[in-house]
C-alpha cells in the first residue's frame, strides 16, 4: 500500500493577474516504509508540496492522500498521524526542552514515557539539557529536539523539510544515519534537501526544479539514465582547460566539479582524437579518466534539456 499518493497537484501564489506558479502538476507515489527524497534547489516547490501533504495548504487542483486519507476531506485524520519538521525552527523558544516534548505529547494524547523507545536514541542526546529553554539551544540540539517532538506521537509518515540545510558535513552524516534507523522502525519518511549528494542515501528520489519533477527513480536508476560518456579531466590551469574543452566539437558540455572538470561527451566520441586535441593544448599535469555520473551530473543535464 502507498503511504503517500500525489496526483497532478497544481499550486500558484500571487494574484490572478500576476500568478507565481509553485507546482506545475506534480504526481508520484511513496510506498509504505520507504525513505523518499525530494531533491532540488530553493524555489523548486519542496516546501509547498510538504505543506499540502501535511494539510497546512490547499492545492489549486489535483488530489493527494497520506496514509490512505484525502488531504482535504480527511485532514484531521492526517494531522493525527503524521509528523512534520518544518524548515524553520518552529518549537516554543521560551519553553524548556522537556516542556516542549510534554506539550507535543499531550496534544496528541500520549506521553513521553509511552513512546520513549522510539525517540530514545535522539532524545537521550539532548536530555542532559532538558531544563534549558529551546531558544538557548545550539543549532544541532534544536534540530534533535524538533525531530524528537515530531516523533513523540509515533507518526506513520514523517515529513522533514530541509533538515540538513546549513548544517556542516559531519552533522549531516549523523542525521542521515539517524533517519536510516527510524526507517527500520517502519516509519515512512519524506525528506527534502538541496544537497545533491544526499540523494544516494534515499531508497528513491524525485529531482525537482521550478515546480516540476525532472525525474523519479532509485538513485542508481537515475544515474543509469544518464546515457552519455562522462569524463573527469584536470590540469594545472583549470580555467583555460574548461574553455578549451567547451570548444571541442565532440564535447556536449563541460563544467567544474570539485578538483576535476566533468566533460559530457557525444556518444560516438573518439578517445584518441580527444587525447590528441588535449595534447595540442599544452597543459601541465593533464589527467583524463572515465567516470560514472552522480546525481548532480544528472541534475545538471536534466536542467539543461
Amino acid at each position: 500500500m502507498n503511504a503517500v499518493t500525489v496526483n497532478n497537484i497544481i499550486k500558484s501564489y500571487g494574484t490572478k493577474k500576476a500568478p507565481v506558479p509553485a507546482l506545475h502538476g506534480i504526481s508520484f507515489d511513496v510506498p509504505k516504509g520507504e525513505l523518499f527524497g525530494i531533491i532540488g534547489p530553493d524555489g523548486a516547490g519542496k516546501t509547498s508540496l510538504f505543506r499540502i501533504l501535511t494539510t497546512l495548504l490547499l492545492a489549486d487542483s489535483g488530489s493527494a492522500t497520506v496514509d490512505g486519507f484525502d488531504v482535504v476531506k480527511n485532514y484531521k485524520d492526517i494531522r493525527n498521524r503524521v509528523g512534520y519538521m518544518p524548515g524553520r525552527f518552529s518549537l516554543y523558544q521560551d519553553l524548556t526542552v522537556a516542556e516542549n516534548m510534554e506539550f507535543f505529547a499531550t496534544i496528541f494524547n500520549t506521553s513521553i514515557e509511552e513512546n520513549y523507545d522510539l525517540v530514545k536514541e535522539i532524545y537521550s542526546q539532548i536530555e542532559p539539557f532538558k531544563d534549558r529553554r529551546a531558544g538557548k539551544l545550539s543549532g544541532g540540539m534544536k534540530q534533535k529536539l524538533a525531530l524528537s517532538c515530531a516523533l513523540i506521537h509515533r507518526p506513520t509518515v514523517l515529513f522533514l523539510d530541509e533538515p540538513t540545510t546549513g548544517v556542516d558535513a559531519v552533522s549531516r552524516k549523523e542525521f542521515w544515519e539517524m533517519l536510516k534507523r527510524l526507517k527500520e522502525q517502519g516509519i515512512t519518511i519524506l525528506v527534502s534537501t538541496p544537497y545533491m549528494d544526499e540523494a544516494s542515501l534515499c531508497d528513491r528520489v524525485a529531482l525537482m526544479q521550478s515546480g516540476n519533477v525532472l525525474s523519479i527513480n532509485t538513485p542508481t536508476g537515475i544515474t543509469g539514465e544518464f546515457g552519455k560518456p562522462l569524463l573527469a579531466i584536470r590540469a594545472s590551469d583549470m580555467l583555460r582547460l574548461l574553455n578549451y574543452i567547451k570548444d571541442y566539437d565532440e564535447a556536449e558540455d563541460c563544467y567544474p566539479f570539485g578538483e576535476y572538470h566533468h566533460a559530457v561527451m557525444k556518444k560516438e566520441y573518439n578517445e584518441e582524437k580527444l587525447a590528441q586535441y588535449l595534447a595540442k593544448g599544452n597543459f601541465n599535469q593533464l589527467e583524463t579518466k572515465k567516470i560514472e555520473p552522480d546525481i548532480e551530473d544528472c541534475f545538471i543535464q536534466l536542467m539543461k534539456n
Binding site: 532540488g40 534547489p41 530553493d42 524555489g43 545550539s138 543549532g139 544541532g140 540540539m141 540545510t165 546549513g166 548544517v167 556542516d168 558535513a169 559531519v170 552533522s171 552524516k173 538541496p194 544537497y195 545533491m196 526544479q209 521550478s210 580555467l239 563544467y255 567544474p256 566539479f257 570539485g258 578538483e259 548532480e296 541534475f299 545538471i300 536542467m303 539543461k304
Partner: protein, 248 residues
C-alpha cells in the same frame, strides 16, 4: 596572483565570558587569492569573520584587513570591503536598479560612475529587461548573482562571502563560481565560506577551523596529501570529527 597581503591575522582571539569562540588564530591571505574559510557549525567562523569585517572587537591578538587595523580603523575597513551572505543580500522591495543605486550610494560612489557601471553590469548579467523589476520577483539564482555583483560594485579590495551558494541549483552554483574567478582575476581578494565540499576544491587555499582553532591551512591538493584523503570532503570529515564542543 599579484604580490602583497590583503589580510593578516596574528593570534586573534575572541572570548564571550568564559567561552573562547576564536582561539589564537593566525594566517595571511594574499591579494587576489580565493581563500576558503571552512569549519563545522559552531567552530567560530562567523565570529572570526565579524572581527575581520570590523563588526566585533577582538579580545586579543592583531589583524589588519586591506592594510587597516581591526581595533582602531574599522570604518576604513568597512569602506574597503564588500560583503554578501545567503541570508542578507538585497532589498526585495526595491528594483534591481534601485538596489545597485542604493549600495553604490552608501559607498559614496559618484553618479557618473554609478550610471556607467550599472549599464555595464546589467549587460553582463543579461538583466537589462529586468532592471525595473522588484528583486523579489527574480529567481533565487539571479538574486545571488546580482547580490555578488552589488557587493563588488564599489570595487572593494576584499569581498567576504558567507555561504553565498546555499540552496542554489547546481548550474547557477557553477555560474556563480565563474563570477568569483573573474573577480579574483581582476585583483579582488575573495574570502569565502561554504558547506559544499566541491567548492572547497575551487579555492587557492583553504583553512579548516575546529573548536575555535585553525587545524589546517593549505592548498586543496596539499591538504589531501597531508591527510591522505581522496577529496576535500574526506579532509573535512577527518578534521571536524575531532571537534568536542557542541555545534552552534
Amino acid at each position: 596572483m599579484s604580490n602583497g597581503t590583503a589580510i593578516s591575522v596574528d593570534k586573534l582571539t575572541k572570548r564571550f565570558g568564559d567561552f573562547t569562540a576564536v582561539d589564537n588564530i593566525s594566517f595571511n591571505v594574499t591579494k587576489g587569492e580565493i581563500f576558503g574559510f571552512l569549519g563545522a557549525n559552531g567552530a567560530g567562523k562567523t565570529t572570526a569573520m565579524r572581527m575581520l569585517c570590523g563588526l566585533s572587537k577582538p579580545t586579543s591578538g592583531t589583524a589588519s584587513v586591506a592594510g587597516f587595523d581591526v581595533y582602531s580603523q574599522t570604518e576604513k575597513i568597512k569602506k574597503s570591503i564588500g560583503y554578501m551572505s545567503q541570508k542578507f543580500s538585497l532589498y526585495e522591495d526595491l528594483t534591481v536598479k534601485e538596489n545597485i543605486r542604493f549600495y553604490a550610494g552608501i559607498y559614496g560612489k559618484p553618479d557618473g560612475f554609478i550610471k556607467e557601471k550599472t549599464e555595464k553590469l546589467l549587460n553582463e548579467l543579461r538583466l537589462q529587461s529586468e532592471a525595473g523589476k522588484l528583486v523579489r520577483s527574480l529567481p533565487l539564482g539571479w538574486k545571488q548573482k546580482l547580490a555578488f555583483s552589488v557587493a563588488i560594485f564599489h570595487e572593494p579590495q576584499i569581498v567576504f562571502l558567507d555561504e553565498p551558494t546555499g540552496g542554489v541549483d547546481p548550474v547557477t552554483r557553477r555560474e556563480f563560481w565563474n563570477m568569483i574567478y573573474k573577480a579574483a582575476a581582476s585583483g579582488i581578494t575573495v574570502f569565502v565560506t561554504t558547506h559544499y565540499m566541491d567548492e572547497a576544491e575551487y579555492c587557492n587555499r583553504v583553512s579548516i577551523m575546529v573548536d575555535g582553532k585553525i587545524e589546517a591551512l593549505d592548498s586543496p591538493t596539499q591538504l589531501k596529501k597531508t591527510f591522505e584523503a581522496n577529496s576535500m570532503g574526506d579532509v573535512f570529515l577527518k578534521l571536524a570529527r575531532k571537534a568536542v564542543r557542541a555545534a552552534d
